[in-house]
Symmetry: none
Subunit: 226 residues, 2 copies
């Protein structure tokens, strides 16, 4: 499944050239020649990247850019003719990601395309649960107490994260197995106990304000003490 690129340029030669370059580089392309067509094609084709000329019939590039931005944060590279005054501020406000001046060579263009695609997949924020002096970062797989790293195996960390994500809630062993180990775990429920013990060994006495509590005949819970 190749990455799809929508090419919007009223100059048919440039359009063709772009198509050639990109398809040779393994991208899937669709070409349109005016602003209105760009918008309808955008909805249908769902490109991962848009190459957008500024000077267009119907609706100009800026407006197309703005419309697309209302729908999606797909990367957009604006195409400008040499000599055309490029108002980069305006482009920035409208959400363009890069500019390429015509005429361009294939190498530079492809480099820009790759760069923009790379830049856009900015991974999201870390997922962290905290309470008091304890924080568990499931994105980095780091546990900290008072900003000191507490080393632990992934499963323990996941278990702690799971408990902390619903503080004070009592989880049965089966719930924990389902939530942390996955539905398909076939083993002994006592496995949970061992992991709990190891967590306790690591976290024991590090705070007065929380602990991992046993709930008899039920399971365990992460207790927050007011």
């Amino acid at each position: 499944m190749a990455v799809r690129v929508l090419i919007v340029d009223d100059d048919k030669n440039i359009n063709k050239l772009l198509k050639l370059y990109l398809e040779k580089a393994g991208y899937e392309t669709e070409c349109v020649f005016d602003g209105r067509a760009a918008l309808t094609a955008f909805g249908r084709f769902e490109p991962a990247l848009v190459l957008l000329d500024i000077m267009l019939p119907n609706i100009d590039g800026w407006d197309v850019c703005a419309e697309i931005r209302k729908l999606s944060d797909v990367p957009i590279i604006m195409l400008t003719a040499r000599g055309e005054t490029v108002d980069k501020i305006r482009g920035l406000e409208l959400g363009a990601d890069d500019y390429v001046t015509k005429p361009f060579d294939s190498k530079e263009l492809l480099a820009r395309v790759k760069a923009v695609l790379r830049r856009k997949q900015a991974p999201d924020e870390d997922e962290i649960v905290r309470y008091d002096n304890l924080s568990v970062n499931i994105t980095r797989y780091e546990t900290k107490v008072n900003d000191r790293l507490i080393e632990m195996p992934p499963r323990e960390l996941e278990l702690l994260y799971y408990l902390m994500s619903n503080p004070n809630r009592a989880f049965t062993r089966d719930q924990l197995l389902d939530g942390v180990w996955g539905m398909d775990f076939e083993g002994d429920a006592r496995t949970v106990d061992v992991h709990i013990k190891r967590l306790r060994d690591k976290l024991n006495g590090l705070s007065e304000h929380w602990n991992i509590q046993t709930v008899w005949r039920v399971g365990y819970r992460f207790e927050m003490k007011a």
Copy 2:
């Protein structure tokens, strides 16, 4: 992705003022106060423009200009005190691009900066990730440690770049395959391991402040040690 400007002036007030103006205008700046510092900063900071005072401790502006010209054709604007005799011929020979007489006002300065960048066809900035003594330039496909080139194949470089672009984040092998190899990679996830090993072989022991860490049952991450 701001344009980087290196400011070289021994007068701390002027330096500060320039920094203020430029950063307000969206440039990224670095300030140094003598010629020697200018040259080392130039290598590390890789500015898109240099503002260079002529009267400097250590190495004077002309010589700094000449040294920089041996390395790069980055635009250089010379700063001269009013009344200072400006040997424009000499400047021309050395490759300076413009002169600004102190004191200057912000508007004029910014106009000159923009003009010079435009004239130089402002080659778009490289995309670089750095940490401590390590930098990876994905535009040039160059990796440096302490400004020394570390040769490595493109895939390894891309992998390193990807890891470094989110330091400390644990990536699963699948995430790395998607991000570096592309969604359409059909091969074995263990491929990542081999590239990691080769990276480690190359980077091993080059710094105490970072390394590539295994996150068990998860994947790998580029660890920055505070």
